[in-house]
């Protein structure tokens, strides 16, 4: 196998691939990158078993070939080269790179040893623009649980149907749900749980792409872009019945400016308890007062203009959770629907334009 590729493109793709290669691993094969050459280019693949990324570099090839070579060394070599094009040759378990007057021979391993990238038949697939996808990810990824004793919560639930996509994440203290109402013809209804690492990697790779093709198989999901594809294993379900948690009868509505509330929360939380981050929301007519009173540290108070018609009430929240929610809502004003001070509060944007519908649930803290 012999192939000539542009150094600039090779270097860019190698950079992207290298970020997936794990530093320390119990499987030495994972520190290699799989190189597959076919008639119109060369594909590099790397995996840490959670995420797998393949990236294609176009070039003129002479014959086919496949080999696994040490990723770090290959990346270093490519980075150090100068010139326009690189000739890559593979024979046996050796790979030769020639660029100008430099020549490197890298010892590799049989491609058969490399973990097989998921090639399952997809149950369903659809295309989506990266901007919307990034928004959907941003609005849900922050609420993913890190508690491994409930593994299904350690990912984002994707509910895909012809009428659109819903994404849900929760860690038991808060929940975020975003619905995209868009018609996807020929889509089978499926529910899968995708690890957050796959989604953050996808967000980074999808920037600047025209379209992302999402394919969901039995055990894995793949995101195909122009030259790059990302694969991830799915998390085992089932995801808890989150619908039961969404309050339907919260009738006391507080409407408040998003930015004003975010800034006030940030300020008063400076004196919040370092463990609970508790800030108390006291609703009153046309205002919301935020208090923090931590015995060892001190107290803080700030008023924010708000609309509230029900009887005054006090409710405690974790300030960082409040700020996370406010960061991801795209609206000038938010509506916080309350019931009793020990019931979940429902946060929604007051006016929402477009296909996205976002809601968040915040569990209150017992006021100390």
């Amino acid at each position: 196998m012999k192939i000539i590729v542009q150094l600039g493109e090779l270097s860019k793709k190698m950079n992207a691939i290298s970020s997936v290669v794990p530093g320390k691993t119990t499987m030495p094969i994972l520190s290699t990158v799989l190189v597959v050459a076919d008639k119109d280019g060369i594909t590099f693949s790397a995996t840490d078993l959670d995420i797998s990324v393949t990236s294609k570099v176009k070039g003129k090839a002479d014959g086919k070939g496949t080999l696994a070579v040490p990723a770090k060394k290959l990346a270093e070599i490519v980075k150090s080269l100068s010139g326009d094009s690189v000739t890559i040759e593979a024979s046996g378990e050796k790979m030769t790179l020639t660029c100008g007057k430099s020549r490197f021979v890298l010892n590799g391993r049989s491609a058969e040893d490399f973990p097989k990238l998921p090639k399952q038949e997809s149950k369903t697939s659809f295309s989506i623009d990266p901007e919307t996808l990034a928004k959907l990810i941003r609005k849900t990824i922050y609420a993913v649980s890190t508690d491994l004793t409930r593994p299904a919560l350690c990912g984002v639930l994707w509910e895909i149907s012809r009428a659109g996509i819903s994404m849900v994440s929760t860690d038991g203290h808060r929940l975020s749900k975003v619905d995209l109402a868009r018609e996807f013809s020929d889509v089978e209804s499926v529910q899968v749980i995708i690890p957050p690492k796959a989604l953050s990697t996808l967000k980074a790779y999808a920037e600047g792409e025209k379209e992302v093709r999402v394919s969901i198989a039995e055990n894995s999901v793949s995101f195909d872009m122009e030259d790059t594809a990302i694969y991830s294993r799915l998390l085992e379900g089932p995801f808890p019945a989150y619908q039961k948690v969404i309050p339907a009868a919260n009738e006391k509505e507080l409407i408040v400016g998003r930015e004003a509330l975010a800034e006030a929360t940030k300020r008063v939380s400076i004196l919040a308890d370092t463990l609970t981050h508790q800030v108390v929301f006291s609703t009153g007519k046309d205002k919301l007062t935020l208090h923090v009173n931590t015995q060892e540290i001190g107290e803080a108070k700030e008023e924010v203009t708000a609309k509230f018609t029900a009887d005054p009430m006090d409710i405690g929240y974790n300030a960082s959770y409040v700020m996370d929610v406010l960061k991801t809502i795209d609206a000038d004003e938010i509506s916080l629907k309350l019931d009793r001070s020990d019931n979940a509060g429902l946060v929604e944007p007051v006016s929402e334009a477009g296909e996205l519908k976002h809601l968040c649930i915040l569990m209150p803290l017992r006021i100390s």
Partner: protein, 352 residues
Amino acid sequence: MGQQRIEQMVRDLLLEDTLPQSLLLTGPEGTGKALFAVDIAARLNCEAEKDRPDGTCPACRKVGRLEHPDLHLVFPVPSGDWEKSMPTIIESRREDFYARGEFGGRAQSIGIGSIRKVIETVSKHPFEGRRTVVIIFDAHLMTVEAQNAFLKVLEEPPPSAVLVLVTEFPDKLLDTVLSRCQHIRFDYLGREAVGSFLETFYSVEGKEAKRISILSEGNLRRGIRFLDEGFARIRADAASLLRVVFVGKGRDLLGESERIAREYNRDEVRTLIDEMAVLARILMRQQALVASMEEKKLLEEMIGSKMAAAGLKRDLTADLGKMDGALKSMSKNADLELTLSHLLLDLAGKWY
């Protein structure tokens, strides 16, 4: 592997697709538990249509090299040293399946961090195979916190996961762990099994394999250790110590104790006493007239016919009790030379 009963049972369970997902492989050292656990991973992920594992498909070869993406191995490591130690020990296991890992005598355990990683691993679908297999070696070294953290997953593993706990000491596990696993008990292997294993996988010549199989007493791990040069030295010294005991010269006994304590470390001395006990047991079988000709010949080769005859006149049950006592003292950190000199003088009846 010489565990036909268990192999048949697991094969049947796999055919019916009813293999329990939490398994506890118990039994004495060297009965093939660890190898069998890896074999289960191969059976579950082999790409052949039937007669799994075929041993030749890419999945079987990856499992054989302990490098299958759906095979996860957990070993005890010094606490707080997971990141560095686990890759090292797995790497050494790839070269020698029975390597114990060198941690400079630091206590090893399976901490809650390792178990959290297991929980994270099994929460995902398999990467390329059908089932994710996690093998916890020396599972009795799991800390109490680790065992408690493991309970939920052991009780109800995700559908694609199979958890295999391997230990010689199930009693050291919490009852709550024991009750969540299906126990598979391994018996001592027959001598033939050890011999043929060494012939097949370690290319040991037939006659030598037979000799080793007698001395290994059905312990596969010991059988494999016989191929190690360092172990050959220990074995030779065990025979020479027995000769010194049977002759019974006080000065020689003390001289030898001093030499052995100087030349060997604690683990090696333990092995040496074990080897003396093996020879004593062959003598015992000879006393009871149940030893085979091969055993008799082997013993004469090792300690000489005169000494073997002397040994037959001894109270070997008492001798074995004394060796056992010495091993117990050593596990309580008793001084090596004192323990050895006490044992040898005691065996030779030289207490004045």
